[in-house]
Amino acid sequence: MADRRGEPLDVRIDSPAREGLTGTTPASVYRPYEDAEQVTIAPDWRPAESQPAWRNDFPIDWPQDHYVERRDFMKFMVLTSLAFTVGQFWIVLQNWLRRRRGRPELMRLSSLDQLPVGSTHVFAYPSQHDPCILIRSDERRFVAYSQKCTHLSCAVVPQLDAGVIRCPCHEGFFDLASGRPISGPPRRPLSLVHLEIRGDDIFATGIEERTL
């Protein structure tokens, strides 16, 4: 195709520059747009280097908005993996601190005759901000769990007739006997409160945070 730029264009359909399909004109006959590469022109007409940094961070144009620099990508990767690594050390530190605190104090929860079969008792253990529930499912069986659902810490409600503990927020269900999740969003079992019966009284002797 001969370069016809600058020559007057014959706009008739059957003109020599319009070979091919009817209504098509080869793109080579047209003047190219002057600044095809440079899409963004700032309102003050100054070059991109002298613009404030936010203009690069929030570009108006899609090509610039979608463009990710190699350096930015590497920065993201390094910082993200650093955050994961620090997170692992954080978990180790938390475990160490928990072990260092030792077992929480013994606490009297209730006496046996105050807790008839099929009833529940709400208490806070080991601290004031850890609500727990004690359930007497039959004459000889007592279970106690943390009342915080392991999904999003809603207060769980025991349903003795169904043998489950239900979380009303997102319909999570735990097994009453073991505290393990049965259905719904929670994946971890409820924290187990160790119990001890001394004489006529029930004592909480420790709390176990379980992952499986």
């Binding site: 007057p8 264009l9 706009v11 008739r12 359909i13 009817t22 209504g23 004109t25 793109a27 006959v29 047209y30 003047r31 190219p32 747009y33 095809a36 899409v39 022109i41 700032a42 309102p43 007409w45 929030f58 108006i60 144009d61 899609w62 090509p63 908005d65």
Partner: protein, 216 residues
């Protein structure tokens, strides 16, 4: 697929006859079904029947996008300023106030700003926008620079506008009389607002085939 860079939009308000065909055709466009994005404005309705079609000028420095607090107005790489992105637009109306050409509109019922996007579904495949296909006087013309140079020898396309201290260049061209442009290659809108038409004789060259460019 981008708009071919050799195709441009030209507005020639002199040729507008106020027939509303563009307004009706605009509602048929698939990118904003049922809503007309074109404004057909009367310039001085008490004294003149002159109308002017207002489509988005697709500024190279889009003021609407500059003022958008939600970063919702984006321009595609071919220079077409798109309607507000639906997940981002908060319908604050900043763009409506800011646009020097008065193009964007906020639809309160659906909480979105919509504006002329040069019929992006059509122009991106090389077709004309809806308004340019129907305009009987070709006041709205979509084609190449070469075509407009041949068809309108008395006019020159201008894409620089002065609004007070703000200079804007646009991807849509406005046709201006060729003669005063030798001294002034831009249109000073704010000073032109107080200008009144002069008495003058007009000689029009009759174009034999106004639709010759339609075949492109």
């Amino acid at each position: 697929m981008p708009k071919p860079e050799y195709l441009h939009f030209f507005i020639d308000p002199n040729r507008c006859i106020g027939c509303q065909a563009c307004v009706q055709a605009c509602t048929e466009c698939d990118t904003h079904r049922g809503e007309s994005m074109i404004h057909l404005e009367f310039i001085d309705r008490a004294h003149s029947v002159q109308t002017v079609p207002v489509v988005c000028m697709h500024c190279e420095q889009p003021t609407c996008a500059e003022v958008c607090p939600a970063d919702a107005i984006k321009r595609s790489g071919d220079g077409v300023v798109q309607s507000a992105r639906k997940p981002r637009c908060i319908a604050c109306g900043n763009c409506v106030i800011a646009c020097p050409f008065g193009v964007p509109e906020v639809y309160e019922d659906r909480q979105i700003m919509m504006k002329c996007d040069m019929c992006y579904d059509r122009t991106s495949v090389g077709k004309k926008p809806m308004c340019a296909t129907v305009c009987p006087s070709q006041a709205l013309f979509f084609g190449t620079r070469e075509q407009i140079d041949q068809l309108r020898p008395m006019s020159r396309p201008v894409n620089r506008f002065q609004f007070g201290r703000q200079t804007i260049s646009t991807r849509v061209f406005m046709m201006m009389p060729a003669e005063p442009l030798t001294t002034q290659p831009y249109l000073d809108v704010t000073s032109a607002m107080s200008e009144h038409p002069r008495q003058r004789s007009i000689a029009l060259t009759v174009v034999s085939d106004p639709f010759a460019e339609v075949e492109l």
